[in-house]
């Protein structure tokens, strides 16, 4: 190869930036064709480059670095803008550029009529650049750069159609919640910096912490607590980006943006940043069983919580949004039980089928002139045959039907969670070693596995509910849309087909084995020792669960069950007033399952969500602003002597404390 393989990383990272610069600065004058070409080609070439780099790695070569420039190289301080291509970042890069490219292509059709077409592509490319910094950076600072960058770009993209106050509020909410998360991330980063004496490079960190990992059992309490604090702070950051409880609230609202944006940012890439970060720092997280258990618990709770909410949504994108939150919960459950490989596996397959589902929903919305309520659709398989087939594949994949991608990855996670419980012969011993981790939390992980299975049931149900209501039954929307649908063009259909294929074959890629080299020794030990009674029975159980969900959805929305409402309505007229049309199931379900879950959930999360985030964050910020405004009016009243009084009072306080 004449080309140095290292420089491929430069192409991967900086081509999208180039695209963003060209489109952002000159896009207005370039015309649509050039904008399209620049926007898509840069990401496409980046994908091809990533493919080459991956092949290089796959042929048994060592992971490699590429130094973009010596950013800070003064005295004891070394921070480089350096990129690192190992098994993990290779996989992430492929997913990000691959799925990203398809979404770019899809956007050509979807955003074709927008007046700020060039600006959209500039933002999209900028987002790709930030995301690639996040996954390819070889140290915490570059990751932070990407971390902030994706946040900013997502803010720009959610706000792309900022015309009404509601959407502006969604943007604000996303912003505030992400700030809370980023704040945790930053604190964690600084604590880590403090603890690791300024080391920011992953490899150096890894060697630093693996020295301690050798004596993990005998880690001094102080260090152990510090590491736990670092991990928990970083996890707060991960919660913010990856929409976990209690910071998930921004994601459903963020659906205000264009649909391809949701597919790219809120399904395939940015929201996985938290999972990536924890996997990247697995050597650190493995040192803190408490943090790991917290992550697993939060993940499982998020999975079930979001899944139950997903069942009653009427907006096609909201369903997918809650489903994303729920699937991310699975990934966190996976990393929490040390099944890093399985989590990244699910991350990858989820990127395929969720991008597919979002793009499919985009095609549907596009066809329906912007209608998003699934109960105003129906029978769309007639109108959109290709979208229908691909959407079905995506739905099957997410529902966990054997043979499709989602099945394998979800299985791997649940297997990891279930198998952890009965581990006894873990090589590492001592107080708070891994065996204690596995031992103390064993029963708890079994519970979490069951929670995961229930969530899987819900997932199968609400996804097929979405599918059946949208593509089967009778059309219930307005006639105009039915008579004049916007048929998706090739630019929209080809990405759907490619993603559909990936949603099937993606499951056959041995991600867990592929990622083995990047795992720290304790994490590998944990993986090798998975075994339990539950894990043996797991596969039949989860297949059954998926089938029940699908059949139930069919029964209630397409099969004989759909007549139940009218049946009730004719017998019991009072019911009719309560549940008109098709809402019966929703109402019933709402009363019997969602309400109890939500009562519990609300009891648990009311405080966090409503008080902390909505109260202090979203509504509290304006309140603080108003209060501060009132206060400042009183203090800063323009009188010069009042300012002098403030100085003298400051002096008096100083005298009081110093005398």
């Amino acid at each position: 190869m004449s080309l140095q393989v290292e420089s491929l990383l430069g192409i991967i990272v900086f081509l999208p930036l180039l695209g963003a610069v060209i489109n952002g600065l000159a896009g207005k004058k370039l015309g649509k064709g050039v904008v399209t070409f620049v926007g898509c080609a840069t990401v496409g070439v980046a994908f091809v480059a990533a493919l080459f780099a991956w092949l290089h790695l796959k042929s048994g070569q060592q992971p490699f670095h590429w130094l973009a420039w010596n950013w800070i190289d003064a005295g004891s301080l070394h921070v480089n803008l350096e990129y690192y291509f190992d098994h993990l970042s290779a996989l992430m890069t492929l997913v990000v550029t691959g799925v990203g490219f398809l979404i770019h292509v899809f956007s050509v059709g979807y955003m074709g009529e927008d007046k700020s077409y060039y600006r959209y592509f500039a933002y999209l490319n900028l987002f790709m650049f930030s995301m690639l910094n996040l996954v390819l950076g070889s140290n915490m600072v570059v990751m932070f750069l990407g971390w902030e960058g994706v946040g900013l770009c997502s803010y720009l993209l959610i706000g792309f159609w900022f015309d009404d106050d509601l959407k502006a509020q969604a943007g604000q909410k996303a912003f505030i919640v992400n700030r809370i998360g980023d704040f945790g991330f930053l604190i964690g980063m600084f604590l880590l910096l403090f603890y690791a004496d300024g080391t920011v490079d992953y490899l150096q960190l890894q060697s630093l912490f693996s020295d301690q990992a050798r004596e993990v059992g005998t880690l001094p309490l102080r260090d152990s607590l510090t590491i736990t604090a670092i991990c928990l702070c970083l996890f707060v950051g991960a919660c913010g980006k990856s929409a976990q409880i209690p910071l998930y609230v921004w994601l459903p609202d963020a659906m205000a943006g264009p649909t391809p944006v949701s597919a790219l940012i809120h399904a395939a890439t940015m929201v996985t940043a938290g999972v990536y970060m924890i996997t990247r720092l697995n050597f650190l997280f493995m040192l803190s069983p408490i943090a790991m258990a917290t992550i697993a618990t939060v993940g499982a709770l998020t999975a079930i919580f979001a899944a139950t909410i997903g069942i009653v949504q009427r907006d096609i994108k909201k369903v997918l949004a809650y489903s994303t939150v729920s699937q991310l919960g699975y990934m966190f459950l996976g990393v929490g039980v040390g099944a890093f490989g399985a989590s990244v596996f699910h991350l990858m397959t989820h990127a395929f089928f969720k991008a597919l589902l979002f793009l499919g929903s985009g095609a549907v919305i596009h066809a329906m002139h912007g209608e998003q309520d699934i109960f105003k659709m129906g029978n769309l398989r007639k109108l959109l045959p290709i979208t229908h087939i691909t959407f079905l594949i995506g739905t099957i994949a997410i529902a966990g039907v054997p043979g499709f991608a989602g099945f394998f990855s979800k299985e791997a996670i649940l297997h990891g969670s279930a198998g952890l419980g009965l581990t006894t012969d873990v090589a590492l011993t001592g107080p708070w070693g891994l065996s204690e981790y596995a031992g103390v939390f064993a029963g708890w992980f079994q519970v979490l596995t069951v929670v995961g299975l229930v969530a899987a049931l819900c997932t199968a149900f609400y996804m097929f509910r979405l599918y059946f209501v949208t593509f089967w039954t009778d059309y219930r929307g307005d006639r105009h849309s039915w008579d004049h649908p916007h048929k998706p063009g090739f630019a929209m259909e080809i990405p759907l087909m490619v993603l559909a294929v990936l949603s099937i074959v993606g499951g056959y890629f041995p991600v867990s084995d592929w990622l083995a080299p990047i795992l720290s020794r304790p994490a590998q030990l944990l993986v090798e020792n998975h075994d339990s009674a539950l894990s043996h029975m797991l596969m039949p159980i989860s297949i059954t669960v998926a089938c029940i969900g699908i059949v139930a959805a069919w029964f209630l929305y397409v099969g004989p069950g759909r007549r139940l409402p009218s049946l009730f309505a004719s017998r019991l007229s009072w019911l009719h007033t309560v549940v008109f049309n098709k809402y019966f199931v929703d109402e019933l379900y709402h009363g019997m399952i969602v309400r109890p879950v939500q009562v519990v959930a609300q009891a648990l999360f009311l405080v966090v969500d409503r008080v902390v985030i909505d109260g202090i964050g979203v509504r509290g910020a304006p309140w603080v602003v108003a209060m501060t405004g009132r206060m400042i009016r009183f203090v800063q009243n323009g009188e010069v002597q009042r300012y002098a009084v403030a100085m003298v009072v400051g002096l008096a306080v100083l005298v009081y404390f110093l005398k």
Binding site: G629, R633, Q636, N637, G638, E639, Q641, V648
Partner: protein, 102 residues
Amino acid sequence: MSGIPLSWWLTLGTVLFGVGTIGVLTRRNALVVFMSIELMLNAVNLILLAFARQRGDEHGHVLAFFIIAVAAAEAAVGLAIILSVFRHKRSVNLDDVRALKH
């Protein structure tokens, strides 16, 4: 001529300084406020000279000289500013000049 202990001088200086400070804080008339600032500077001069006398060296005198010079410079600019304020507001009351706030 040297029976007075240092602490008396310093106390006198500090009292004068306090009187000047209170004048700055309480009087509305910009001219009087400015006079109070001059009082503060004089209090410092007194303290400096007392220290100089105590130590028997004249550095304190030089410092006092600089303070007088600076006070003169400030007086010129300050009174010019007060004139300017009067031209705009027809008043030299400090609390009449409070358009910039919050």
